[in-house]
């Protein structure tokens, strides 16, 4: 992979992509988390993110509205805050080989498929296998069946998603970026599953 492969691993010594706001020592109260989105093109990856970021709109926060990079901070009940830095990836087949550049050092991977497209479910399974082989060993993975509002067009049964996620130790949820169903739940659940740096 050109110049990047021979370089020192930036995240070594840190907790798999987790680090604090000031770039210094890990801060148990304010986590900064690199989250990578994987999935076939057209499954609604960017819609999920936009819904998440816009849905919790906070006029005081400086949200960068990029097309493919967005960040959003959520507060948990234990007064911890988690800032998600969301890295979208191009889902077209021709860019599949580039994905490792993006998920390297990610603390979270969200693998998305479209419940109306069995092909996208197959593709999601491919990504899960890839991540198991090449991702950080302590990466938190979520499997997301999107477009849950299109029940009448469903082709991937809920149970298939549940079973596959369970077999692979992943968190599973079905969402609808259109109706905002389960979008916040997805990110809150991820936040809860993050490994915490031990307070020093």
């Amino acid at each position: 992979m050109g110049c990047s492969s021979s370089l020192p691993d930036r995240t070594s010594g840190r907790l798999g992509g987790l680090n604090s706001e000031n770039g210094g020592a890990p801060d148990a109260k304010n986590l900064r988390v690199k989250l990578v989105l994987l999935g076939d093109s057209g499954v609604g990856k960017s819609c999920i993110v936009l819904r998440f970021v816009r849905g919790q709109f906070d006029p005081t926060s400086k949200v960068t509205v990029g097309a493919s990079f967005l960040s959003q901070t959520i507060a948990l009940q234990d007064s911890t805050t988690v800032k998600f830095e969301i890295w979208d990836t191009a889902g077209q087949e021709r860019y599949a080989a580039l994905a490792p550049l993006y998920y390297r050092g990610a603390a979270v991977a969200v693998v998305v498929y479209d419940i109306t497209s069995p092909d996208s479910f197959t593709k999601a399974q491919y990504w899960v296998k890839e991540l198991q082989k090449h991702g950080s060993p302590d990466i938190v993975m979520a499997l997301v069946g999107n477009k849950a509002d299109l029940q009448e067009k469903r082709e991937v049964p809920v149970q298939d998603g549940i079973d596959y996620a369970e077999k692979n130790g992943m968190f599973f949820i079905e969402t609808s970026a259109k109706t905002a169903d389960n979008i916040n739940q997805l990110f809150e659940e991820i936040a809860k599953r993050l490994p915490r740096p031990s307070p020093s």
Binding site: G2, L7, R10, V49, A67, S68, F69, A90, G91, Q92
Partner: protein, 370 residues
């Protein structure tokens, strides 16, 4: 004193607070000395150099925070000092650290050549870029940002060129999507970036990316900057591995187009030497091609006033290349080098037409740019 204080940021720091600036400058000089000393003992090893610079910057940051003179300094002040330090040290070490590894220069050249071939036939639809994003004005703006990368020596500034390019693309995607009621994401961003990269053919692409990755302060190559930087690395990697299967194009057509592009480039190379002898104000075929190809000849559109002392080195090496190529070509075709002002080899019809109708060329030129 071996080292002159020429870095503007340090000067500014020093003028803000002479003592603070002095502390930093001294440390920078010490590091510089140790770097240069070890340099004379070791062969070039970019990864090691990068690690050492990162360590130095981390230590310096810690030292600044602990120093009594900096007690009570705000985060911004410390950050500004660190940016100044990075720029100062890297400007000093530029010739040692940038594209100094023969292997890297070779990769740069290979990428440059591959892109020049692709430029000849690649169209947005080959990357399935939706027509709604076809906006030549925005693309050109993004290309220009990318092509500026060699105008800077500091890693921060080189990275800024990349971020600006991505910002232009993002604006285009967001504006074009608004009417379409769609949400642009990486599925749209990456293909456009790849297309812009091919159109721009930025100079020393591989070396520039490697330089930023190794020498930009690690605390600064995170988050959004890291994301867009990764996209550039990824686009470069796509281009390096690009073959008939990577595009929406028939594989035979791809190979034929590449072959045809090779011929076109070979032909223009032969046509180029006499053009060099012509008076500069005459639009000649080579110039037309250069403007189209853009970055192959980064100084083509530069004004004398824009050049910096740092450009002299590159200009000189480019000049030597040109002279060598010219001499070799002249020898190859049995024509004495540096001869008369008029081109004397047989022209293809196209060349003659171009030479006779300068205005026509200008028009085509503009079209290519628009």
């Amino acid at each position: 004193m071996i080292f002159s204080i020429e870095c503007e940021i340090l000067l500014r720091l020093i003028s803000l607070n002479p003592l603070k600036g002095y502390v930093i400058l001294n440390a920078a000089k010490l590091f510089f000395c140790s770097f240069i000393v070890s340099f004379s003992f070791h062969t070039v090893n970019p990864e090691n150099d990068g690690r050492r610079l990162q360590e130095f910057l981390l230590n310096m940051e810690a030292a600044i925070r602990d120093h009594p003179l900096w007690a009570g300094a705000t985060e911004e002040e410390v950050d500004c000092a660190m940016e100044g330090l990075e720029k100062y040290v890297m400007t000093k070490l530029f010739s040692r650290t940038f594209a100094s590894f023969a292997e890297d220069a070779k990769i740069d050249q290979e990428i440059l050549e591959k892109i020049s071939l692709l430029q000849n036939f690649l169209r947005p639809e080959h990357l399935d870029i939706p027509a709604v994003f076809n906006n030549n004005a925005s693309w050109l703006l993004a290309e220009k940002e990318l092509q500026k990368i060699n105008a800077f020596k500091a890693p921060r500034e080189k990275l800024l060129c990349i971020l600006n390019c991505c910002r232009v693309i993002n604006n285009l995607l967001l504006n074009s999507s608004m009417s379409e009621n769609r949400v642009p994401g990486a599925d749209d961003f990456l293909p456009v970036l790849i297309y812009v990269m091919i159109k721009a053919n930025p100079p020393q692409l591989h070396s520039n990316l490697k330089f930023i990755q190794l020498y930009r302060r690690q605390a600064k190559l995170v988050s959004e900057a890291a994301y867009y930087f990764t996209n550039l690395v990824s686009a470069k990697s796509f281009i390096v591995d690009l073959d008939g299967k990577s595009l929406s194009i028939d594989e035979t057509e791809f190979h034929d187009s590449m072959q045809a592009a090779r011929l076109v480039i070979k032909e223009t190379r032969i046509k180029t030497p006499p053009a060099l002898d012509k008076p500069a104000d005459l639009p000649v075929p080579s110039r037309r091609l250069h403007n189209k190809g853009g970055s192959n000849y980064p100084f083509m559109e530069a004004e004398a006033g824009e050049l910096t002392v740092g450009d002299v080195e590159r200009l000189l090496s480019l000049y030597k290349d040109v002279v060598n190529n010219y001499t070799n070509l002249c020898r190859a075709i049995g024509h004495p080098p540096l001869s008369k002002l008029q081109p004397s080899f047989p022209h293809s019809e196209e060349t003659n037409v171009l030479l006779e109708q300068p205005e026509e060329i200008m028009k085509t030129d503009h079209k290519a740019v628009e």
